[in-house]
C-alpha cells in the first residue's frame, strides 16, 4: 500500500498560508486578493480530488508528529474525512466566488477573507484529523476564527450575537476538552479507527465511559445545535450571507455533527455505543430537536431565521441516523451530511441574493419575486423541495435511507418523527414557494427592472445555480461510484465489518 505523508499538510497549507498573506494585503487591492482567494480554493479542490482518487485506489495518506510526550498531531485521510473534505472544498470554492460578489465595495475585506481562509483551514483540519487530540485542536480553531466573521458587520446587534456565540461555543469547548483529557488519561492515545477502541472492555468501566461519552457529546452538541444548546445559531443570523451559508452548510454546525460521527463510530464504535446504552437517549434528543426546530421555523417571519431553525432541525437528521443501529442508518446519516450541506447553502445563497438585490428580509415581502429574479427563485425552489425530500432530489435519498435504517433497527417511532418532520418541512417551505411563484408581484420591483441582462451579479447567481444542479445530480446519479452515496455505503460496510 502506497503512503503519502505530505498531501494532507498541503491541503491545509493552501488556505492557512493564504490567510496570512491576505491579512497583509492592503484593503484596496481587490483584484490581487480575489485572485489569491480563488486560486487557493481551486488548488485545494484539486488536491482534495487527487486525495479522493488516491484513497479510492488504496493509497494511505498520513502526516503525524509528536506535539508533546504522549500527544500526537495526526492528519489522515479515510473515507469519512474524504466525504467531509470534499464537501468543504467544493463549497468553499463556491462560497468564495459568492463572497467576492457579495462584499463588493464593503469595508474590512482583508480581515474578512483572512479569517474566512482560517475558518476553511480549520474545517479541513477537522475533516482530516486522525485522532481526538488533533480534532480538538482544529475544532477550537474553528470556534475562534468564525467569531470575526459572525461580528463582521460591527453593529451592536452583530456584537451581541457574537457574544452569545462565544458563550455557547467556548463552554461547549471546555466540556469537550475535559472529555478528551479524561479519555487520554484513562485509555491513552485515541486515533480514529472504524469499530472504535472498546470492543473488549470490562463492564466495570462502563460508568466511566458513559460519563466521558456524555462530556464529549455535550461539548459537540453545542455546535451541532441540538436542543437545548441551539440558542446561538438563530442569533448568529446577523452575519453576512456568505458566512451564514458556510456556517450552516459546512463549517461550524457540521463540525459539531462530524465530531459526533467520529466519536460514535471511530472512538466508541457503534456496537460498543449500542451496548453502553447511549444511542437511545441520543436518538430521542435528536428527534426532539428535529420536531422542535421545524415547529419554531413555522413561526419565523424573517427568511434567514426560518432557514436557521430549519438547519437546527435538518442537521439533527444526521445525529438521528448515527444512532440508528444498522448500516442503513449510517448510510442515511453520512449521505445527509453532504446533501444537507449542498441544499442549505443553496437556500442561503438565494436568501442573500434576495436581500442584496431587492432588500428582502421578511417572508411576506417575497410575493411574486420570481418574475423579477427567476433564476434565483428556481434555485431556491430546488433547495426547498430537496429539503422536503421530494424524489428524485438529493434530500429524498437521505430521508429514504434514514427511514430504512429506522425499520432495520426496529425503532418504528423514528418513522413517525420522519413523517411528521417532512410534513412540517412542507408546511414551512411550500407557503414560501407559493408566494414566490404565484402571488402578484410587488409593484416596486417591476419598476426596478434589471439594467443588465441577468437579474443580479453573476458572482452571486452562479454559485446557487451550480449547487441547485448538484442537488438534482446527486439525487439522480446517487449510485455513481464516486458519489457521496457510494462513499457512505463503503463506510457503512467498513464500520459494521460487512
Amino acid at each position: 500500500m502506497a503512503t503519502n505523508s505530505l498531501l494532507p499538510l498541503w491541503v491545509l497549507a493552501t488556505s492557512l498560508v493564504v490567510a496570512f498573506i491576505i491579512f497583509t494585503i492592503p484593503e484596496e487591492r481587490f483584484k490581487l486578493r480575489s485572485f489569491l482567494n480563488l486560486s487557493a480554493a481551486v488548488i485545494k479542490l484539486l488536491l482534495v480530488m487527487i486525495m479522493t482518487w488516491g484513497v479510492f485506489q488504496g493509497v494511505f495518506y498520513e502526516t503525524h508528529f509528536e506535539v508533546a510526550p504522549g500527544l500526537e498531531f495526526s492528519l489522515k485521510a479515510d473515507p469519512l474525512s474524504i466525504v467531509f473534505a470534499g464537501l468543504s472544498s467544493v463549497l468553499w470554492l463556491l462560497t468564495t466566488v459568492y463572497a467576492i460578489g457579495y462584499l463588493e465595495d464593503s469595508p474590512n475585506r482583508s480581515r474578512f477573507f483572512g479569517f474566512f481562509s482560517f475558518c476553511v483551514a480549520s474545517t479541513l483540519g477537522i475533516a482530516l484529523a486522525g485522532n481526538l487530540f488533533t480534532f480538538l485542536l482544529f475544532y477550537e480553531m474553528l470556534t475562534l476564527s468564525a467569531y470575526p466573521l459572525v461580528v463582521h458587520r460591527g453593529t451592536q446587534a452583530a456584537l451581541r450575537a457574537g457574544r452569545v456565540y462565544l458563550i455557547y461555543t467556548l463552554s461547549g469547548g471546555a466540556l469537550l476538552m475535559l472529555g478528551v483529557v479524561m479519555m487520554y488519561l484513562n485509555y491513552g492515545e485515541m486515533p480514529f479507527e472504524s469499530g472504535g477502541h472498546f470492543q473488549q472492555v470490562d463492564v466495570a468501566e462502563y460508568p466511566m465511559l458513559g460519563f466521558i461519552f456524555f462530556l464529549l457529546i455535550a461539548g459537540l452538541a453545542v455546535k451541532a445545535a441540538l436542543v437545548p444548546l441551539h440558542g446561538w445559531l438563530p442569533s448568529a443570523m446577523v452575519a453576512p450571507a456568505p458566512v451564514s451559508a458556510l456556517l450552516h452548510a459546512v463549517a461550524v454546525v457540521k463540525a459539531g455533527v462530524f465530531g459526533i460521527v467520529r466519536v460514535v463510530y471511530d472512538i466508541f464504535g457503534i456496537e460498543f455505543a449500542y451496548m453502553l446504552g447511549v444511542l437511545v437517549p441520543l436518538s430521542i434528543l435528536a428527534s426532539a430537536t428535529i420536531v422542535y426546530g421545524s415547529i419554531r421555523a413555522l413561526y419565523q417571519t424573517d427568511l434567514k431565521r426560518r432557514l436557521a431553525f430549519s438547519t437546527v432541525s435538518q442537521v439533527s437528521y444526521i445525529t438521528l441516523g448515527i444512532t440508528l443501529f444498522g448500516p442503513l442508518g449510517t448510510i442515511g446519516a453520512i449521505v445527509h451530511l453532504v446533501h444537507q450541506g449542498i441544499m442549505k447553502i443553496t437556500l442561503f445563497f438565494c436568501a442573500g441574493n434576495y436581500a442584496e438585490t431587492l432588500g428582502i428580509h421578511r417572508i411576506d415581502e417575497l410575493d411574486g419575486v420570481a418574475k423579477r429574479m427567476p433564476w434565483t427563485s428556481m434555485a431556491f425552489t430546488m433547495g426547498a423541495l430537496g429539503m422536503i425530500g421530494l424524489p428524485p432530489l438529493a434530500g429524498f435519498i437521505s430521508k429514504w435511507y434514514l427511514g430504512l435504517g429506522a425499520l432495520e433497527s426496529g425503532m418504528y417511532w423514528v418513522l413517525f418523527v420522519l413523517v411528521m418532520s417532512t410534513l412540517l418541512n412542507a408546511a414551512y417551505f411550500l407557503p414560501i414557494l407559493h408566494r414566490i411563484w404565484f402571488r402578484a408581484p410587488h409593484p416596486r420591483w417591476l419598476s426596478s427592472q434589471p439594467v443588465k441582462r441577468v437579474e443580479c451579479s453573476w458572482l452571486l447567481l452562479a454559485p446557487p445555480l451550480v449547487t441547485a444542479v448538484l442537488i438534482l445530480l446527486l439525487g439522480v446519479f446517487a449510485s455513481w461510484p464516486m458519489s457521496p452515496f457510494s462513499w457512505a455505503i463503503f463506510m457503512a460496510n467498513q464500520e459494521y465489518g460487512l
Binding site: 506535539v67 480553531m141 461580528v151 457574544r163 476538552m177 483529557v181
Partner: protein, 401 residues
C-alpha cells in the same frame, strides 16, 4: 539551569527594539539579577539576586515620569522589601539551625522541626508576595499598568517568574521533606482564588493596560495550582504537573509580553488608554490586534498554544491525583480569560463610531509582539523540544544535588 536561563534570554531580543537609551543599565541590571536567580545555589545568593532585580525594576517603573508611576514604583518597592524581609528572616533562621544556606546541602540535612517549618513558611510568604499571588497581588496591576508598555512586558513576562521560580526551587528541594500537604493545598486554593479574582477584575477594568495587568494576576494563579499537584502525590502526577507548569511559565511569558506590547501599540495609536476608545481600531491597527488575538489564544488556554497544552497537563494531573476540585477552577478561569480577551475584540470591531485620527505607529513596533505571540501559539504544536530540554535540565540538577 543554564538551559533554562538560555531559554528565557532567548526572547529578549524582541524587547530591544523599543527600549530607549537611559533604560539600558536598568535592563542589564535585571538581566544580571535574573541570571543569578536562575543559577543561585544558596539562599543568600537568591536573596541578593532578587534585590538586584528589584532595584532594576523600581527604576523601570519610575521611568514613567508621572506622579502615578512614582506612586506605583514606591508601592512596588514596599511590597518587594516586605517580601524580601520575610524571606531574609526565614533564611536567617535556617542558617541559625543548620549553619548553612546552600540549597543542596540543606536538602540532605533538613528535617521537619517547628522552627524549620516557621522559616519555611516565612520564605514561602516572602516569595508569594513578590510573585503577586492573591491576596498579596495589589501592587502588581498599578506597577505593570502604569509603566511603559515594553517594560511592562518585561516585568510581567520575567520578573514575577523569578520569584515563582525561586519558590518552586525551594519547594521542590524541601517540600516533600517538611512542607505539609496542607500548606500546598492552601497555595493551590490561593491560586484558584487568584484565577477567579484576577479574571473577574480584568473583566471590569476600563483601561486597556490595567486589563492586561489583572490578567497577570489571573495567570499567576495557574502557577500555584502546581504546588498541591506536586507535593504528596505519585511520581506520575508530579511529572505531569511539572510539564504543565513549565509550559505555562514559558507560554505566559511569551503571550503576556506580546499582550503588553500590542496593548502599548494600540494605546499609542489611539492616544487614549481606555478600552471604550478602541472602537474601529480593527481597521487601523490590524496587525497589533492580530498579535493580541494570537497571544489571547494562549492566555485563554485554547489550542493550538502553549497555554492549551499547559492546561491539558494540569487537568490530567488533577484528574490522576483525584484532586478534581481544580477542574471547575480551570474551566471557569478559561472562560473568564476568554471574557476579558474578547471584550477588547468586540470593542475594536464596533463600526458605529466617528472615525478618530490615528497616530501611526512604526511598523517595526508591531513586529515584536507578533513574533512573541506566534511563538506562544507555536509552542502548542512544537512543545516536544522545549519540554525535553527542560526535562534534561531537571534530570541534570536532580543528579547534581
Amino acid at each position: 539551569m543554564a538551559l533554562l536561563a538560555a531559554f528565557q534570554i532567548h526572547h529578549y531580543f524582541a524587547h530591544q527594539l523599543d527600549l530607549q537609551k537611559r533604560i539600558w543599565w536598568r535592563f542589564w541590571l535585571i538581566l544580571l539579577g535574573l541570571t543569578l536567580v536562575w543559577s543561585a545555589g544558596d539562599l543568600i545568593t537568591l536573596y541578593v539576586a532578587m534585590e538586584i532585580v528589584a532595584l532594576g525594576v523600581v527604576g523601570l517603573i519610575a521611568l514613567g515620569d508621572q506622579a502615578e508611576s512614582y506612586r506605583s514604583a514606591l508601592r512596588y518597592l514596599k511590597a518587594v522589601l516586605l517580601g524580601t524581609l520575610s524571606f531574609l528572616i526565614g533564611s536567617i533562621i535556617i542558617w541559625g539551625v543548620y549553619g548553612t544556606v546552600s540549597l543542596s546541602a540543606l536538602q540532605q540535612q533538613i528535617e521537619g522541626t517547628g522552627l524549620t517549618g516557621l522559616a519555611f513558611a516565612l520564605i514561602t510568604v516572602g516569595l508569594v508576595y513578590r510573585a503577586a499571588l492573591f491576596p498579596l497581588h495589589s501592587w502588581l496591576p498599578p506597577a505593570h499598568g502604569s509603566s511603559h508598555a515594553p517594560l511592562s512586558a518585561l516585568l510581567s513576562a520575567l520578573v514575577t517568574k523569578a520569584s515563582f521560580y525561586s519558590l518552586a526551587r525551594v519547594w521542590l528541594d524541601w517540600g516533600d521533606l517538611i512542607g505539609s500537604e496542607l500548606l500546598a493545598q492552601l497555595l493551590g486554593i490561593l491560586g484558584a482564588l487568584a484565577i477567579v479574582w484576577g479574571g473577574w477584575m480584568a473583566c471590569r477594568q476600563s483601561e486597556l493596560k490595567m486589563l492586561v495587568a489583572y490578567s497577570s494576576v489571573n495567570q499567576v494563579g495557574y502557577f500555584f495550582l502546581f504546588f498541591p499537584l506536586i507535593i504528596g502525590v505519585s511520581h506520575e502526577v508530579a511529572v505531569l504537573a511539572k510539564q504543565g507548569v513549565i509550559l505555562q511559565v514559558i507560554s505566559h511569558a511569551l503571550a503576556k509580553a506580546a499582550l503588553f506590547m500590542a496593548a502599548g501599540n494600540l494605546v499609542a495609536a489611539m492616544g487614549s488608554k481606555y478600552i471604550a476608545d478602541l472602537s474601529g481600531m480593527s481597521r487601523s491597527m490590524p496587525l497589533s490586534l492580530l498579535s493580541f488575538g494570537f497571544a489571547g489564544v494562549s492566555i485563554m488556554g485554547l489550542p493550538p498554544s502553549g497555554g492549551f497544552l499547559a492546561k491539558w497537563y494540569v487537568l490530567q494531573a488533577s484528574l490522576l491525583s483525584g484532586q478534581w476540585w481544580w477542574i471547575p477552577v480551570l474551566i471557569l478561569g478559561g472562560l473568564l480569560s476568554a471574557a476579558y480577551i474578547f471584550r477588547i475584540f468586540s470593542r475594536s470591531f464596533l463600526e458605529e463610531c466617528s472615525v478618530k485620527p490615528i497616530k501611526p505607529v512604526p511598523k517595526i513596533l508591531e513586529i515584536a509582539p507578533m513574533v512573541l505571540a506566534l511563538l506562544a501559539v507555536g509552542l502548542g504544536l512544537l512543545a516536544s523540544t522545549p519540554l525535553s530540554l527542560m526535562t534534561i535540565a531537571m534530570v541534570v540538577t536532580d543528579g547534581h544535588e
